[in-house]
Amino acid sequence: MPESITTMQIIETWLAVGFTLMIYTFLYKDNPIFKLGEYIYVELTAGYAVCYAWFTVIWPDLIYPLYRALTVSFHIKQWEKPLESHENLWLIIPLVLGILMLTRFSSKFNWLSRYTLAFIMGSVSGMSIPLVVSANIFKQMVPTLNPFWGPEVTIFQTINTCLILVGVIAVLIYFFFSVEHKGAVNKVARLGIFYMMVSFGAAFGYTVMARESLVIGRVTKLIKWASPDYYYATIILLFIIIGLVVLTELFSSRGERTE
């Protein structure tokens, strides 16, 4: 083992290789080994998120400041450090709203969670509507309103503006169902389909690249981890995982025959 690789890293590597191969067994078919890997990943993620939320948000931003504010307000305890601006009794409101959300687990009291949801929907709508309209509608209209010619406009920009303008109108007409798609409307709508096909093709090409990137990244690491530095983790675990998949297949086929 090279000096730069610690025992902890070796353990981490073996775990990473094991879980990667467990998930890749899905290529064969949905099987218990894949399910085990999937469930462990999901549960770990959920557990990590809960712990992280507690230690970085719920405790430091809500419980602890509220506790300090309550103890000072009711003269229960004196603190060396004075209260900061965010440490006040207003924190009771988010605490109560948060607790109300947990009533969703009770069939009797779950209606109480609607108050929290109403608060969230109201406040988020108020905050979002002006900004969303500005960013996603008004500013998105700008490219369709670019000048076709002018002292600083090149021929390519003119072609680009034409393509954008025609594309926007054609696709909008395709989704305009109040008029029957016949004659000229039908032709423009079909042009809209052509535009969308180009868009879907580009999206598909990018999607292939995205999925390959993930596989290539993982395969590169699996090849690296097959080296003696990592005690042949990939090779050994590959045989173990294949063996486990074969065993589960044998057991399941025997179970089916018995039934």
Binding site: Y206, E212, I216
Partner: protein, 274 residues
């Protein structure tokens, strides 16, 4: 029904071909040479960072988790190395998920080590706060109220890297590298409130969604997937993981193009035969 076993075999043949197209170029990667190219949208981000004077504060929002690490880490590393070399002050944050914080810590520490930068002096990592848009809106009012403490539990008011910064409007540039809808959130809330230039990096799957924002000028530039990361590595003269991974990527792309062409030929031939 008779075509099902055939389809099953073809599926496995395709799996095997893709596996070979990945494994062989990874093993013989030194022998494969790819030309250096960079698209305009990627170069715009590079040019924007180049144009910023040393000491300018910027935000780097790392909004991805381990499931997209393989695709987005290379571009994050390339961007970070570039901004560190330009001596910009970097505020690392995330609005995506708690898992992003750990990743961000790892990426920042690695890049800082490579470029000899110090935590608290050249960069700061903020802990994850839930709320997405609310976090950005809070940043537009007061950074210290949003993040009273950094990732290492140090008081942010005492950090030299945040000297002279109060709100989002003090930022000279912001960049969101995301595997989800964080770029949309940054465009709608960050850009609208902060008015600073905004760049985006995203998984290749999402790249086409953001091209309209480039045309409207809401985004300075866009980096989509590993291809863009390789282009950025070439721009900063630091060929790394992304450049290496583009080699098998290119081989697999060629294979997929061939498969599509063959599939179409087979389809049309069969149709003609009836």
């Amino acid at each position: 029904m008779t075509s099902e076993p055939k389809f099953h075999i073809i599926r496995w043949v395709i799996f095997a071909l893709v596996a070979l197209a990945i494994i062989i170029p990874v093993i013989v990667s030194e022998k494969i040479k790819l030309p250096d190219t960079s698209s305009r949208v990627v170069k715009n981000i590079y040019d924007k960072i180049e144009s910023l004077p040393a000491g300018s504060p910027i935000i780097l929002s790392i909004d991805f988790d381990p499931s997209s690490d393989e695709e987005l880490r290379p571009m994050t590393m390339a961007i970070l190395r570039h901004v560190f070399r330009k001596k910009l002050r970097v505020i690392g944050m995330t609005i995506w998920s708690p898992q992003s914080s750990g990743l961000m810590g790892d990426i920042f520490t690695t890049a800082a080590k490579m470029e000899n930068k110090q935590d608290g002096l050249d960069y700061v990592i903020m802990p994850f706060k839930p709320g997405g848009s609310s976090v950005i809106l809070n940043l537009s009012q007061d950074i210290f109220f949003t993040y009273p403490k950094d990732y290492k539990d140090k008081s942010t008011k005492e950090l030299p890297v945040l000297k002279g910064i109060r709100t989002l409007k003090d930022m000279k540039y912001a960049m969101c590298i995301s595997a989800g809808n964080a770029v949309d959130v940054w465009i709608v809330y960050g850009k609208e409130k902060g008015k600073m230039p905004l760049g985006a990096g995203c998984t290749a799957v999402m790249a086409t969604d953001y091209y309209p924002y480039l045309q409207s000028g809401q985004l300075v530039g866009l980096m989509g997937g590993i291809g863009a990361a390789a282009q950025y590595e070439s721009l900063i003269g630091e060929k790394g993981i992304a450049t290496e991974r583009m080699k098998p990527q290119t081989v697999v792309h060629s294979l997929i193009i061939i498969l599509i062409v063959v599939g179409n030929i087979v389809y049309f031939t069969r149709r003609r035969k009836g």
